[in-house]
Symmetry: D2
Subunit: 182 residues, 4 copies
Amino acid sequence: MNKKVLLFAGSLRTGSLNKKYVKVAHAILHEITGLDTELVDLADYPMPVYNQDIEDKEFPQPAADLARKVAGVDALVISTPENNGSIAAALKNTVDWLSRPPHNPWPGKCIFLMGASPGALGAVRGLWHSRIPFEALGCHVYPDMSGLPRAHEAFDENGELKDKASRERLAKQLKGFANRIF
Amino acid sequence: MNKKVLLFAGSLRTGSLNKKYVKVAHAILHEITGLDTELVDLADYPMPVYNQDIEDKEFPQPAADLARKVAGVDALVISTPENNGSIAAALKNTVDWLSRPPHNPWPGKCIFLMGASPGALGAVRGLWHSRIPFEALGCHVYPDMSGLPRAHEAFDENGELKDKASRERLAKQLKGFANRIF
Amino acid sequence: MNKKVLLFAGSLRTGSLNKKYVKVAHAILHEITGLDTELVDLADYPMPVYNQDIEDKEFPQPAADLARKVAGVDALVISTPENNGSIAAALKNTVDWLSRPPHNPWPGKCIFLMGASPGALGAVRGLWHSRIPFEALGCHVYPDMSGLPRAHEAFDENGELKDKASRERLAKQLKGFANRIF
Amino acid sequence: MNKKVLLFAGSLRTGSLNKKYVKVAHAILHEITGLDTELVDLADYPMPVYNQDIEDKEFPQPAADLARKVAGVDALVISTPENNGSIAAALKNTVDWLSRPPHNPWPGKCIFLMGASPGALGAVRGLWHSRIPFEALGCHVYPDMSGLPRAHEAFDENGELKDKASRERLAKQLKGFANRIF
């Protein structure tokens, strides 16, 4: 049976470099047999900043909807910005809302983290910081991660990576990840 | 000249244990001479989840207001929940909004982190995870942090810590911190 | 075919609480079918502090021997002390020596981390800090980890955990881990 | 009164890039008035891998000697390699030996971390991982750190940084640090 993979970027803005980067990953996963993939946009699941008072009154429907989507897959590929050397607020907020009972779909999911950044370090600090909440929730975060430095210059007008070696490296990582989805 | 200290909890909900805990810190700081303190509530500074599209259209006034407050102090005392073993979304979101130019008031601030948690570990994982964005922004995060385990049982009806030793330990930490505010 | 698991403690001293704790894990793994297990003692593989000058002259035989052992297994269970809130020097030194080419047996190994500590937090900070080098090396570190607080009072004279619930929790974690060995 | 600063590299090998990098820092600190500096070599303080059995028998004299040196200064500048994305074993081992009572000179020291690496990321992961034990010990680790990427090509035959901008950036960081030594 095919493994199901959900992809999204941990960014809300329309022109996000991470939305571009996760689209490349989506195209690559299409070339791997045995996978059913779906790419969603966090901006289509608007949530307030997590606040238990809101939760106690009424659980946000978009969070419940996205939790159901996560519950229905085996694995996730998430491309996330680095903000101040650490996890993006939009991603952390999404993780936390979805983790609330009775929804919590996270335990046991296989996760591949990637990150695009205009800087020279390719979001490496944000990627390592972002592993923690997923691991605390019982997710199997793939050890290898994919940082894309100087991402503002990395894509052509079709959204493809200009540098072929970068695309091949990502493809190799994603194939390795696909082999390790339970 | 007196040092100025801003205090808040990294939580939005009304009955937050961290709001209680930071109030205890506020009372203790009052007993230390040479400090001007102000306690604010993040819920009074409502912000959307960080999204550069919103920023490009109009910077949220509450974020600008809080950034001005932070810019006006020498130090901050922040009590933050641990969510999924890591930084609270409300705190990360606040840090990120305020860090955006031309506001960014963070570099050089002295910060004391504390955290109340119903669990046995006293938010220790969240505290260590929360240091990172502040340090990446150039803040001097005090090495010693104050975790309060089993916080749901820790306060009496007046909001005081029932356990005198816990209050004394916090007071000692805050005195050490106050001596290290530049 | 049976999965092979190597166990050791990240401590050198004879009376190490982590040597006791990993023995309990060894006994539990024996009860799980489909596993071949071997428990070794790092003290039997004496290595100098890592120094490339030594490596260039002659690679330490004990490090080469242990690297071969690690290369021959699918998974490792490592019980490690927390020293100064972080990874034990003996464990980091072992990881680094073994990682040197042409030996490096680490990539792809499945690892379960556990830690015994006399403190109340059960080595939780050391466990999270210890994940990093293994993940950087491409190991699949199991998200759930097992910290044993107040470990100096935890064992009876036969080396068994006095608290049955603690042993059951560890057994449950190790069964979960065993199911995830590739 | 002059502030005292001890400098060393977290590496043992003779030709260490970090020994070169910390020498540059030493020269820069000489240009700052009000500082007394001393540069030492960890290789002159040979220690076994930390083992409590050794400690119980006889505390290593080199560790006691270095602990006394650390106790006598206000601040340290440490240049450390990144090994497997994390703290160098030689540095962790030194920190742990010195931390043992009755020596423990670490609490309250001001520390500037720097790291040279042949890679493109300039030891950034190792630097962030290395903060933790120092902060757990109560050291004030300066938030800004100095990573030197492609360090194998960075020095001329006199041990100077070829790139003037890199030296100026380091000098600016060290001046900032010197202003924050208590």
